[in-house]
């Protein structure tokens, strides 16, 4: 993937590699998108993205970011390389959770109020269909093979499994109370939901459509990242990240992080996970092996980074 990216960049004759090793943080309070260089852990740029941006997903080539803005109720397309807002699509309702398909030119946007997922064709930047799911869908994730879309239906305490080809809901699986973020492992075998009200993570076997276990977390878990056989959960009110073992589902350590730890994602090499701190306006780096905070970058006010934000 890295090689392919660099190859394309050379063919295009651009001075910038396609993958810049950076984080894109939706700074909701600042109406901005902050770019952080992950090698130096310094903010390298900031652009205006109005409408109180929150959710984010990157295109498969990671050159384009798709951002939800709950205040203006828009989907916003940002060219991550030139760092410019390209297009805006007004969706209405309550757009928040978002995921991109690995091969199709589609992104999926969960509507908090109308309880459906919009299918957006990003070539036309238009809604081409809706999928009715449970109540207040929030986090979305697509399996790596592109076949299934999973939706954490917050107010139904359940996860919907959607067949992407037919746009049909195949199953609804009861999980903990008020699932918010959802993350699927690289094999597409298991999904992990962060359950805001029951202070735990539910682990789902996707093929069997069954819950295989749960992990206790700190107060008000928000989202989950996976690295080195471990899970990492941002505890929004607890101000910690709970690390657990993916095999035994036993908690390993609660890492003191920051106020309102929210968006979290592992690097491609799984060496580090990065945590967006809404309360303290910083991006933190956690060493996934040592379970220590090893870096910190100041960013624009109120970074949420709900979704995938590393490139």
């Amino acid at each position: 993937m890295l090689k392919l990216g660099l190859g394309l960049a050379v063919l295009n004759g651009t001075a910038f590699p396609a993958l810049a090793h950076e984080a894109l943080l939706t700074a909701q309070s600042a109406d901005s998108l902050s770019f952080v260089d992950l090698d130096t852990m310094k903010e390298s740029g900031r652009i205006s993205v109005t409408g109180k941006p929150a959710g984010i997903a990157l295109s498969p080539d990671k050159k384009t970011a798709y951002i939800t803005a709950p205040d203006s109720q828009d989907l916003i397309e940002v060219d991550a390389i030139s760092r410019t807002v390209k297009r805006r699509l007004h969706l209405g309702g309550g757009p928040l959770g978002i995921a991109a398909h690995p091969t199709r030119p589609e992104v999926y946007v969960a509507d908090w109020y109308t309880h459906k997922i919009h299918i957006v064709d990003v070539t036309q930047m238009a809604v081409i269909g809706d999928i009715k799911v449970g109540d207040s869908p929030s986090g979305l994730a697509v399996t790596p093979n592109g076949k299934l879309l999973l939706s954490a239906d917050r107010d139904s305490d359940a996860v919907s499994i959607v067949d992407i080809a037919t746009r049909k809901v195949l199953a609804s699986i009861p999980v903990g109370k008020r699932p918010f973020g959802i993350t699927i492992d690289d094999q597409g075998a298991r999904a992990y939901t962060a359950n805001v009200k029951s202070d735990d993570v539910t682990v789902i076997d996707i093929a069997a459509r069954k819950v295989v276990g749960s992990v206790p977390t700190g107060r008000r878990p928000y989202a989950v990242a996976l690295a080195q056989g471990r899970g990492f959960v941002t505890d929004q009110y607890g101000g910690t990240v709970t690390a657990f073992d993916q095999t035994t589902l036993a908690p390993i350590k609660r890492i003191d992080t920051c106020d309102h730890a929210e968006g979290i994602e592992a690097d491609a090499d799984e060496k580090n996970v990065y945590v967006s701190c809404w309360g303290e306006d910083v991006l933190l780096r956690i060493d996934a092996q040592k379970l220590l905070v090893t870096g910190k970058a100041a960013v624009a006010d109120g970074p949420r980074a709900f979704g995938t934000f590393l490139r």
């Binding site: 309070s29 709950p70 205040d71 203006s72 109720q73 309102h260 309360g279």
Partner: protein, 181 residues
Amino acid sequence: MLKRLVIAATIVGLAPLSLAGAAWAHGPSRQKVTETVEINAPADKVWKVVGNFQDMSWLPVVAKTEGTGGNNVNATRTLTLKNGGKIEEQLDKYNAEDHMYAYEITKVDPKVFPVNDYSSHITVSADGDNKSTVTWWGGFYRGYMLNDPPPDLNDAVALKAVTDLYKSGLAALKQKVEAGG
């Protein structure tokens, strides 16, 4: 009048956002407020007043604090306000060494306090031996969680309510601690 001015200012401030949609269609987004006060007293002395989760008597609007669990994580308290309103809260983090505790509101009527999903922390930090700074921070949504809030439950009203509470509370705390000798 003041409230109306605040609302008007907000509309003007947000006007560019509404170009993409209906002028009034503002979805909720999380807000935050930070207020600080400098107190002429050592941090330990200030912490003795604010550091007990079961005693909010330093906050002028509170008539009564009732709770269980002391200062342990997951302790609860119910604040009865002088106007009769009640707020139920839970302790999320307590660090006596750093003079900090974090809590959340678990139940409140937006008519009493126009917020949702409110969480907060109070920190006392030492500025030398005889001075300290108290920081009160809150994160929350407005009182109305759907689109198109009524004017008394919009973002501006929530921000004003929390800001006013923190400002008046910290001013009263300063007065109480400094007068207490």
